[in-house]
Amino acid sequence: MDSLIPFTTSGSLVDCVDRKMLVVLRDGRKLHGVLRSYDQFANLVLEDTVERIYHGNAFAENWHGLFLIRGENVVLLGEIDLDLEDEIPQRRQVEYAALEPYHKNDVEVKKQREEAKAQILYEQKGFCKEGGEGDGY
């Protein structure tokens, strides 16, 4: 069974523990924090978590603290390359309160676009509605 270690959730996440990670959730939120624990369902424990929002060239952070994230809400867990993070052509960090209205607007626009798309797919293109039973997203 030794050869199966890379082929389990635990086998592939063990080297991410105690590192700074980015977690993308199904609702589109981006959380940065230190991964402290996880299990086979990708339930995650993140410490010193901040939520990041982006708009245009700016980003903002909102501090949250300790998170236990239920696995079903996880889209992606990315390891942040700290060197690469410093090299990125600098984005401007601004106050969270200042950026939040823009971000909320972005989210709303995206939601409307998705709804319009789903409506067309359902009414004109013969697709079924998303979010049904067993859709898993």
Binding site: P6, F7, T8, T9, G11, S12, L13, C16, L22, V24, R26, G28, K30, A42, R52, Y54, F59, G71, E72, V74, V75, L76, L77, G78, E79, I80, D81, L84, E85, I88, R91, G136, Y137
Partner: protein, 99 residues
């Protein structure tokens, strides 16, 4: 089990994973598990401008349930073998990927 085995034979190959949130990531497949969770190294995000949060990420773990498509390198997939394996049924003993 069959598809899990197929993914296992594709480790260290370059694949493109398209997620249900329309994010597409190309990278080297490092591991896969029973839920088809995928671990990618040296990732590159298509349309990086739309996904600025991914710029500092070099490798990532993708939950199987959020994957829409995986684009495989066709030269490393034996479709004939897959077809045969499918016909034979996918009990672990009868398919060719688990030795």
């Amino acid at each position: 089990m069959l598809i899990f085995s197929v993914f296992k034979t594709l480790t260290d190959q370059q694949v493109t994973v398209e997620l249900k949130n329309d994010l597409s990531i190309t990278g080297v497949l490092k591991s896969v598990d029973q839920f088809l969770n995928i671990r990618l190294d040296s990732i590159k995000v298509l349309d990086e401008a739309r996904h600025p949060h991914m710029m500092a990420v070099k490798n990532c773990f993708i939950r199987g349930s959020v994957v829409r498509y995986v684009q495989l390198p066709s030269e490393h997939v034996d479709t004939q073998l897959l077809e045969d394996a499918t016909r034979r049924g996918s009990s672990p003993r009868s398919h060719p990927f688990i030795g």
